[in-house]
């Protein structure tokens, strides 16, 4: 039976149960929503005073504007209209440098959210259970879009608040900055909802969504560099075209964004009843009839299964690093303007503010890289709980290869993502200063023993106490708390010492110290040994 045939004559019925679903979905995604919203808005709040102080005077802004108004720089920032307003408005400078990047992160947040709430749930047959209840056929799409709209609104409000103090008498610009993010969130949610109907699987839908972001980036970059109409093809560009904080400020490009969001949502609603459950409108392409030559061991399989996660992490950190790096060069003489809390967090002891800044971002980068490593370990656990690993475990494969191969895969993912994040930070942050470029890369590389310790700890937890998922994350959560709040809360030294990152020198803000790195590497090696011992000894719990 095609879904369309059943469609005749039912209107609101297909939306039945949307309210209940909405509450349920909000509960399930609360961690995702909170982390992304606070990450994007909090990062913005942290960066505001840096730029505000650096470019307090019109002269400094004009000087910066002169360097920004080149095709290459415009492609990385935004239209020349903003640069023209640098002299009058710090807000224009801020929006010009930040919007493309915070907008891109907002887009990623909503692509992942919508795919997770629609196609990903169908694949786990979670929504099959839901739909067998009195819930309309379109209800889960409606709930996903309603939740996205609410999240986009909250994010926009927080973004507006984050930049409100930037410039006196420019509340309109701040509101427009916030609304721009709401609009980006809505349009990417709606376009992803269409992609979710068309594509044959959740991962393809994510690919389409992120591909759309790439397209937005490219068209905005080309359009702004060459000052032509290409920027009008970019959902990110529409927000830039509001010229917020400038004398040409206008609201209607956001109406265009909203109109596209509404049109795409309607299209998604029309398509959802034209496809069968768990299937896309585009049938799955036939895959390889046999395995490639390289797929011949448990290790090869594990690397293949986790490479998507690794590249997601690498791309995320490269982007984040580049975004943070773009403010690094202008971080030097502003310490006075920081709030007590901001200063406490950024303080890495002595040195210049740019170095402190770099060291802070290097530490955050390393923690996020470790996160991707631990996620890879989590994949190993999932292979066990959903039973896929059973076919491998019943093959002539030692425990050190299955589940053991998840350790090298996790270490590899964490190492690559950490180094690529550092590369992004160094590329945009060094501003052509070869010395700083090398320092940022070295500062990133010395985080590796601490990253490996976190990953090896997670592996040992997986090997010995697989059911205690929280244990895998324990050391990581603690490290994050110490990095964010250690100085701020005057945490006792011994508590901070429990974080491996606390023993890594905050290079380039501090001098290098090699001995603690050696100790951390040994600790990581001991945890690896412990993990392999556990993997040999324990039962495998397949479903």
């Amino acid at each position: 039976m095609t879904a369309a045939a059943a469609e005749v004559g039912d209107g609101l019925g297909t939306l039945a149960g949307t309210g209940k679903l909405l509450r349920f979905q909000a509960r399930r995604t609360r961690v995702h929503l909170t982390a992304w919203t606070l990450g994007i808005a909090g990062g913005t709040w942290l960066i505001t005073p840096v730029l505000a102080d650096q470019y307090a005077t019109p002269e400094s802004r004009v000087a910066l504007g002169a360097t920004m108004n080149t095709p290459a720089m415009r492609s990385m920032t935004g239209p020349a209209e903003y640069v023209a307003a640098y002299a009058d408005s710090i807000g224009a400078l801020f929006a010009n440098r930040m919007l493309l990047w915070t907008g891109a992160m907002t887009a990623v947040m909503f692509v992942l959210l919508v795919v997770r709430l629609t196609r990903a749930d169908e694949e786990t047959s979670r929504s099959e259970v839901l739909r067998s209840n009195p819930v309309g056929r379109r209800a889960d799409l409606a709930a996903a879009l309603a939740l996205s709209a609410a999240a986009a609104t909250v994010l926009g409000a927080l973004m507006a608040l984050a930049v409100l103090g930037l410039e006196d008498g420019a509340a309109g610009g701040a509101v427009l900055f916030g609304l721009a993010h709401t609009a980006i969130g809505l349009v990417f949610a709606a376009l992803t909802a269409v992609a979710a109907q068309v594509s044959d699987s959740a991962s393809t839908a994510t690919g389409y969504g992120l591909g759309l972001l790439g397209w937005s980036f490219l068209t905005a970059g080309v359009g702004n560099a060459q000052e032509n109409a290409a920027v009008w093809l970019s959902p990110l560009g529409w927000s830039q075209l509001t010229f917020m904080y400038t004398s040409e400020e206008r609201w209607w490009p956001l109406a265009l964004t909203l109109a596209v969001a509404v049109a795409a949502s309607s299209l998604a609603f029309a398509l959802v009843s034209r496809r069968d459950f768990g299937q896309g409108l585009v049938a799955a392409r036939a895959g390889r009839p046999g395995a490639a030559a390289g797929l011949r061991s448990a290790h090869a399989l594990t690397f293949r299964l986790t490479r998507g996660l690794m590249w997601t992490g690498a791309a995320t950190l490269l982007l984040l690093g580049a975004a943070y790096g773009s403010v690094l060069g202008s971080a030097d003489e502003f310490a006075d303007s920081l709030s007590e809390a901001q200063r406490a967090m950024l303080d890495r002891g002595g040195s210049t503010m740019a170095y402190s800044f770099a060291a802070t971002f290097i530490a955050i980068n390393a923690v996020v890289a470790a996160l991707f490593g631990i996620l890879v370990i989590g994949r190993g656990r999932k292979e066990e709980t959903v039973g896929r690993g059973e076919l491998i475990a019943a093959s002539p494969v030692a425990r050190s290869a299955w589940p053991g191969s998840y350790l090298p895969a996790a270490l590899f993912a964490a190492t690559v993502t950490n180094l690529l994040g550092g590369l992004g930070l160094a590329a945009t942050g060094s501003g052509g200063d070869g010395g700083l470029f090398g320092k940022v890369l070295l500062g990133t590389a010395i985080q590796l023993p601490a990253v490996w310790t976190l990953v090896a700890f997670a592996f040992a937890a997986f090997a010995w106490l697989p059911r205690a998922g929280w244990l895998r994350w324990l050391l990581w959560v603690w490290s994050l708390l110490v990095i964010y709040f250690g100085n701020m809360l005057d945490m006792p030294e011994w508590l901070q010492d429990a974080s491996p990152f606390h023993h890594v020198a905050a290079y380039p803000a501090q001098d290098l110290e090699w001995a603690p790195l050696g100790v951390l590497a040994l600790l990581a090696a001991a945890l690896v040994w412990l993990g392999y011992a556990g993997a040999r000894r324990r039962d495998l719990h397949f479903s």
Binding site: D200, A291, R296, E390, L391
Partner: protein, 306 residues
């Protein structure tokens, strides 16, 4: 020493639950052995101990005379396993999965693989996420039957297969047996076990309650006997070994112990027989004998126990 599988007083506990409670199982080389029991009786747990995935809490388990826990990886070279609920990698095609499993074992026989794909009517180009349950099962079956191994461990392998594919499966098992391979077939589909297995073990609550050849089991069980007589027969109800007797005029219907058949037939012959059927017990009836009390607890009358 020709037992491929041998467990002695095998014990496995999960917390407070005793999954295997002093389980004894023996499967001789070259035999196709049925392993019968309902869900939760301990079939899969036994197989997973034999695969070295679970560590026993007592007793002994041996596979090819070696310890399945200590020598797991080595022993797995000589066996292939099909789980009851096959989970595949969503992004790998069936063909990729079959090749990977074959290579882990040292190589793939292309001709054999393609022949099995043909027989099971399986499209190897589809991704794991788009296979139905039956097709996922086929992927694991093709990989197992394509492997050049001494032992096949099949854990409810036909759940999800349609009857046509069930017939192909039966053929493949018979071929494997003809090639001298040992097969442990866990199942709760009686007709499958009856068609394929020479010997059967019935497991209940973690204990093997009955083991032997089907012929032996039948011998120790009751046959169902129905007859139309020429004259009324007397005293049948008092004869030892006659159960569930229903007399309706000249029609009689009863279950008779193998040992009492002689006596009963003599009495019937004396009364004169117009028509007679005598059915040996089906495996299902033998099986139900061990589970009669559980059925009763679930409110089912012993429909097959006559």
């Amino acid at each position: 020493m020709n037992a491929v599988i041998r467990t002695e007083e095998l014990v496995k506990r999960f917390g407070h639950v005793t999954a295997l409670d002093h389980l004894n199982l023996e499967v001789a080389q070259g035999e196709t052995h049925g392993f019968l029991g309902p869900n939760g009786a301990g079939k899969s747990t036994t197989i997973r101990v034999l695969l070295g995935m679970l560590r026993s809490d007592g007793g002994r388990a041996e596979l090819f005379g070696a310890d399945p826990w200590k020598d797991a990886a080595e022993l797995h070279r000589r066996l292939a396993y099909v789980p009851g609920d096959v989970a595949l990698w969503p992004g790998l095609t069936g063909g990729e999965t079959i090749d990977l499993l074959g290579r882990l074992r040292g190589g793939v026989d292309r001709a054999r693989r393609d022949e099995l794909l043909e027989r099971f009517d399986l499209d190897p180009r589809k991704k794991g996420r788009s296979y139905s349950k039956g097709n996922r099962q086929k992927v694991a079956l093709v990989a197992a039957f394509a492997a050049d191994v001494d032992l096949l461990l099949l854990d409810e392998p036909t759940s999800g297969l349609d009857p046509l594919m069930g017939a192909v499966f039966n053929e493949c098992v018979k071929e494997a047996a003809a090639q001298g391979r040992t097969v442990l077939l866990s199942s709760h589909i009686m007709s499958e076990v009856e068609a394929l297995c020479e010997r059967v073990s019935i497991i209940r609550k973690g204990v093997v309650v009955e083991t032997g050849s089907l012929a032996e089991m039948r011998h120790f069980s009751r046959s169902r006997l129905r007859a139309t007589l020429k004259h009324p027969v007397h005293g049948l109800a008092d004869t030892d070994g006659v159960h569930d007797l229903v007399v309706d005029g000249l029609e009689i219907d009863c279950s008779v112990d193998a040992a009492a058949l002689d006596d009963v037939l003599a009495r019937l012959a004396a009364a004169g027989v117009a028509a007679l059927t005598c059915e040996p017990p089906s495996l299902e009836q033998i099986f139900m004998r061990f589970y009669g009390d559980e059925l009763a607890a679930h409110g089912v009358r012993e429909g097959n126990g006559r």
